[in-house]
Subunit: 363 residues, 2 copies
Amino acid sequence: MSADDTQEAREQLIDLAAQFYDQFELGEIPHMSVPTRTKNNIEYDEDKDVWVYGDRESTRSANSVRGARKLLKAVYTIEFLADQLEEDRSSTLRELYYLSESWDNKEAQFSDQDESNGLIEDLEIVSGVTREDFHMRPEESGATIMGPLHLREQTRRGEREIHCQKDVGEGGYQIPNNPDTIDFLDCDADFILAVETGGMRDRLVENGFDEEYNALIVHLKGQPARATRRITRRLHDELDLPVTVFTDGDPWSYRIYGSVAYGSIKSAHLSEYLATPEAQFIGIQPADIVEYDLPTDPLSDSDVNALESELEDPRFQTDYWEEQIELQLDLGKKSEQQALASHGLDFVTETYLPERLGEMGVL
Amino acid sequence: MSADDTQEAREQLIDLAAQFYDQFELGEIPHMSVPTRTKNNIEYDEDKDVWVYGDRESTRSANSVRGARKLLKAVYTIEFLADQLEEDRSSTLRELYYLSESWDNKEAQFSDQDESNGLIEDLEIVSGVTREDFHMRPEESGATIMGPLHLREQTRRGEREIHCQKDVGEGGYQIPNNPDTIDFLDCDADFILAVETGGMRDRLVENGFDEEYNALIVHLKGQPARATRRITRRLHDELDLPVTVFTDGDPWSYRIYGSVAYGSIKSAHLSEYLATPEAQFIGIQPADIVEYDLPTDPLSDSDVNALESELEDPRFQTDYWEEQIELQLDLGKKSEQQALASHGLDFVTETYLPERLGEMGVL
């Protein structure tokens, strides 16, 4: 992130606090409105092609002691963040929670971490600045990249130029917490292949899939961290790379795809920043279980419930997903991506992926 | 791993299969004995300073259909592993399980993954070769290193020389699944600081702790992967670096320390390879909760049970641990490592760690 962005984030925060002064001057009770963050209040933005919050708002107002305390905490947090940005430092959500114990006003201290996490989300939404730009680091680190990409990362210790095949070990390039510190210098990749499990990621690297097909292999490590989703979005936007997602064939993995493509309900305000609506699902599709005769496990009750809840989820209401989910409920079965090994260790790279990526128009 | 090691691992496996032929010739029923892997069958090896299996054994014998089937599966697996080593390929435990579906003899196929995992452990124990040397990759990847270490990693794509401060981004160097492919070229570090949480790892890197104190910061990511424990052991053995472990102050985190220092019951046969008995615990110690006046949470019932079970665990039967665990049960409280932020973001690097490492004789 550049010094300009830091300055801008700081100004946005100070503007928020200044609002309260304006409200005082106008004789209003200080207040702050934020969109309600529930499933009923997300809607599709046709222009931007992402899910965003609807019009429902809830208001934090100083007209009650409880509301006044919320605003007090917001102001203390804004001051902390503004100082942090001025000193070019950063901190985690958990550190913010503990740090509040050192604040001089006991009323401003957080009673639990849900409260401080929620406040940071509020501030993201009302300021339009992401928490990374507040220099709030996530706890979970991003995953890794392997493929023909040359990048420059701005670190606190100076710039680092790294080629994500030639300058890294077999583990790949570790995505930093804030990938907006990265500039893409040169890229020979034709598409991004985001992979759920470490075992499959290692299989693709061992089989040289990134070299043979000019793929950028991004390891999702299960539910992807914000940093992983952010860099995927940037690679798509800035380098015009198609994004494909390869997971296990069960409802939990479809949610992983959903989080890459549509974002999560809790962070719909960040969809434009984190989600890649053009991301395509490779599989394991329920149809693949039949077509490739894969080893399966029976669906558990919680699998069935999760599939049924996906049928109700606006993010999965497309013909494609309805067909696949209905098929899976009929089959009563699920398969893992590593089940492809039942046809040999090269089946995934020599047969399955080339066929699927061909069907999808990526290869 | 060198070509010689690969050849040796392959020969060990083939020797195992050859044993069955010898047993046939001697008119014996083919069988294989392995140590029992339970808490009652681990004991302290004074010479090697690690916990190892005792004398209790269980025998897989072809004198029953069930036993014969177990040996059949072992022989098929040995053949698969020997071929894999010959072709210089690798695979995951999960791939082995699925791959067995392609074997011509249905009786040799695994009925679930616990069975194939258990068999690989049996083969490790009886052959004295680790699964990494069979080229079986773990599912979970290792964590990251940041610090003054220059290394060379042998990858399938050639050698990579990487300095773990100068050639990496803020995320650090990603430890490969098999760290025995690494040679240490040059190291200016004075000690290893293994850290449980990502938030604290990032704090130490942001505050430049690795530079100021010549520390190798190894991120454990919760319960450490085999690769992380292995490289820690090698750094200790080959570079003579003291190992210190910094975790949250609760019974689950003491187990993380225990897994670095003593290994786990399930992998006592690997203690010599994975465990670093000289590793010292920094904290958060129960005594630190009092001394540094840290924010706490009350112990839950499961915390209390876990502490009481640690008092019974041979690996924690030292004066130090008994005192700390008794103190914690008296206090009824636990603290996270990030709770140090209640004294400011620099407290951990300017006060807590220098004081604790001084007491421990590391600084």
